[in-house]
Symmetry: C2
Subunit: 364 residues, 2 copies
């Protein structure tokens, strides 16, 4: 890996590895927390807009003003409190650059079990970090986030646990680090959690990050955003305008604005996902799984009757994809995205059969 | 600007300022080098693909494999020699991070007059740079690019001059810096220049960067790419996968692949732009402009009869936008994008009238 043309830091990077995106159409795909329902039909109408060819010929609005206004209207915020990016991953990258690059004695704080892209951004921008351990039950111990720090970042609900941190505890975090940005990554907030966005006017250090990938069924569109007081949004804009002036294409700006505006669609679809999650939680428990309480569109579940990696591989053989992390503390669990009821029935039935086969082979 | 939440480097950034994108529909917009012709109708058919909603629901292919294959086929290269990004600006940013972050005594080399985003990337990633001066006629003196360096980057044709550097001189650059990446930014290559891509197999240090924004009339789509030997592409992928796994959305991947495949459209449209450029060059000379020889879809031209900034402002009053740079050496010039013949006639007529009015007021 010692390529003479690579800059020294490049060879040391360990890039993020996303969940696989195989092309098979018969697959039950429960591995990347996509929404099982098609996106808002109202949003899709944008694709038929006869003005699109001319819009595509020209540079898009570098500030995505109409999209920011649509998000602000939905959130009851001012457009100056909204920043949009090419997926929440890009928003996160800019936030790490903008707020978390500080002294060697000020580490960024995030949980030991969390979104695995965070340590990659730290490497990219040479940001030291400290990772307080989640409690045994995977809840976040906020008192561990005190002391000299570059800031705090955590998903709420957390990934891949699905556990939700109540807003009172988010407020404690904000008060523990009043001089530093506390970024709450709300990728999964629309599946039952209470958003920290309502705290923005009271906390100048709060940055809330969202995505259309999960609750809006638009993972393929690459649209994320951040909400915060204007001075934080301005910081993100400075970084963005030093990296790529026009990150959001003309189709995505229009389509995302229409999707954000279709709140009836969001309400109905999220309610369906939540109902399926609750039902599957019960069904998995009946199959002798320990299920971590989740307010996300996935559950982290530990099969007691079979080794997690074995189950993952056997599900795979049956064309059912879930996510297995070969990592400390969660190596006995599977992360299972919430699909349609039919998809979850297929999963549950497969688990039942695999466990039965294994019981049989063990008793032989 | 001393915001306590901003990281120290953030406050010091001086972001890039793109050409303005006003919303007026009656404007003759010759300020950002967009293509005046609508994009390939074959590419636009992608928007009607009934599979798009389901594609948008899922994460896109993180590697944009089909798009890379389409580009490779067009260029006679291998897909492993192709990297795609969210506009060539993102490709450039990743190239700066991947190849040009070296010691304090190894500055990146680029011309004194060139794309003004380059020094911004240097600031973003703390890359020292040295800027050899163009000759009086705005040609590049390749011999100035020797010595210890992090690499070389330059647009060919150069922006905002439009001058083309012959491939023999590109080869001299590659030989002057055999251990460092020489990045040739070919945003404007399809308007008459000879691409350096044909040198890729012979030079492991050559990176060619392209965009669909100009010649493919898809500035609104945000699609750029880099061509180079696989070890350079792998370097860019490492950086990309440490920043944003899925930079290209599902619509853009499909639409760009279709546009790249429509080479008949590219040939015809570029021929029209070139013909207009040649004609306008003659017409501007007749109006007493000095026109720098251009192989791009713009010309840099110095009005001898009137102050350049005055002309810029008076054209603006007549709803004709061109680009004026208040900078050393080019402060007497205007950069004029090549529009349709009707748009260029409007520009020429306006210049004629403005100059006539000025002659009159000077003789009074």
């Amino acid at each position: 890996m010692n390529n003479p043309f690579w800059s020294p830091a490049l060879a040391a990077l360990e890039p993020y590895v996303p969940g696989e995106q195989p092309r098979g159409t018969r697959l039950v795909k429960l591995n990347t927390n996509e929404n099982p329902y098609p996106p808002s039909a109202r949003a899709m109408e944008v694709l038929a807009d006869p003005q699109l060819p001319d819009a595509l010929r020209r540079y898009p609005d570098p500030e995505s003003s109409e999209l920011c206004a649509a998000i602000a209207a939905q959130e009851g915020l001012d457009p100056a409190q909204v920043f949009v990016g090419n997926g929440s991953d890009e928003v996160l990258a800019h936030a790490f650059y903008s707020f978390f690059r500080r002294g060697a004695d000020e580490p960024l704080l995030f949980p030991d079990i969390t979104y695995s892209f965070y340590p990659v951004y730290c490497q990219l921008y040479d940001i030291p970090h400290r990772r307080p351990a989640l409690r045994e039950d995977f809840s976040i111990a906020v008192e561990d986030y005190a002391g000299p720090a570059a800031g705090v970042i955590l998903p709420n609900p957390n990934a891949p646990t699905g556990r939700f941190l109540p807003l009172e505890e988010i407020e404690q975090l904000l008060q523990l680090q009043p001089e530093r940005v506390v970024a709450i990554d709300e990728a999964y907030i629309d599946f039952g959690g209470d958003s920290a966005a309502q705290l923005i006017d009271r906390y100048p250090n709060l940055l809330v990050i969202r995505t259309l990938s999960k609750s809006h069924a638009l993972a393929g569109l690459r649209l994320g955003y951040a909400l915060g007081q204007p001075h934080l949004v301005e910081g993100l804009q400075r970084t963005k305008n030093s990296f790529n002036s026009y990150p959001i294409d003309s189709v995505a700006q229009r389509l995302a604005a229409a999707a954000i505006g279709d709140s009836a669609w969001l309400r109905e679809t999220s309610a369906k996902v939540i109902a399926t999650r609750e039902r599957v939680t019960t069904d998995l428990a009946a199959l002798d799984f320990e299920v971590v309480p989740s307010l996300a569109n996935f559950v982290l579940a530990r099969p007691r009757a079979i080794d997690a990696e074995t189950l993952y591989l056997q599900l795979r053989e049956r064309q059912i994809l879930v996510r297995y992390f070969n990592k400390p503390r969660i190596g006995d669990y599977l992360r299972i995205s919430i699909g349609t009821d039919a998809e979850m029935d297929a999963l549950l039935e497969a688990c039942r059969e695999i466990q039965a086969t294994q019981d049989k082979s063990q008793t032989q």
